[in-house]
Symmetry: C2
């Protein structure tokens, strides 16, 4: 009466399908505002709190020179700003401008499909999903 729980391997493909679905929605939302996926990721990252270039590159898991290019293009569009750090003159902090912050809000709101998909779950399903996502996220982080 107690069936075997699924093996980790059996969860990979379903998880991959969810990841792909989320990613596609994100890319399309970014494209609707003329942003590439990479730009939207960078903008979103500095939206939480201003980040040094180095920390941004770490977050995006990319080379520092790549972050330079991304932020240069976002800055050219008036969406982010570079400001000198008060504590370490080598460091530049990246933060969204007012326009950038507004766009972040819009991007998050325009994840229509994802909100809709989550809304299509029953209350019980959402109640069951939440703690599992919170458990899983830190396990996937880093390394």
């Amino acid at each position: 009466m107690s069936p075997q729980p699924p093996a980790p391997d059996d969860l990979i493909d379903p998880l991959a399908a969810v990841v792909r679905g989320y990613y596609d929605h994100f890319s399309r939302a970014a494209a609707r505002h003329g942003l590439t996926t990479a730009q939207a990721r960078a903008l979103n990252a500095v939206g939480r709190s201003p980040l040094p270039m180095r920390a941004l590159a770490d977050h995006l898991v990319c080379d520092a020179s790549n972050a330079t290019g991304l932020i240069t293009r976002l800055e050219a569009r008036g969406l982010v700003e570079r400001t000198a750090s008060a504590h370490d003159r080598r460091v530049k902090l990246v933060a969204p401008t007012a326009a950038g912050a507004e766009l972040i809000v819009r991007l998050r709101a325009e994840m229509h499909g994802v909100h809709q998909a989550l809304g299509a779950l029953t209350g019980d399903e959402r109640a069951a999903l939440a703690p599992l996502l919170h458990r899983l996220a830190p396990l996937l982080d880093g390394s």
Copy 2:
């Protein structure tokens, strides 16, 4: 005693964290084999079953000319093959070579972190997660 289920909005960030974790692991596994993320995605897609170029572009949600470039590079590395369709002479079917199929197996096995993360869940948690992923995936598909 029955707390409110979380609103869809409250699940977005935890879901995003899981997606980012999975994506980072995938990118790193690809990089370990000298593949870009886009190349690994394409290789993986044709690994399930041979696909026409058109169907591959649809799966990757990209332009057909982009798929041409990706497959040309994978073909140059001996990982995939283009073969003419028997039914429609316009169509080319893309399939992995023996080396490509082998690499796909290795890539999937090398999602260390993801397997580990799922394995770190209890049996009960995995049993609860599986049906939720299966519910959610189709809701996120398309559009």
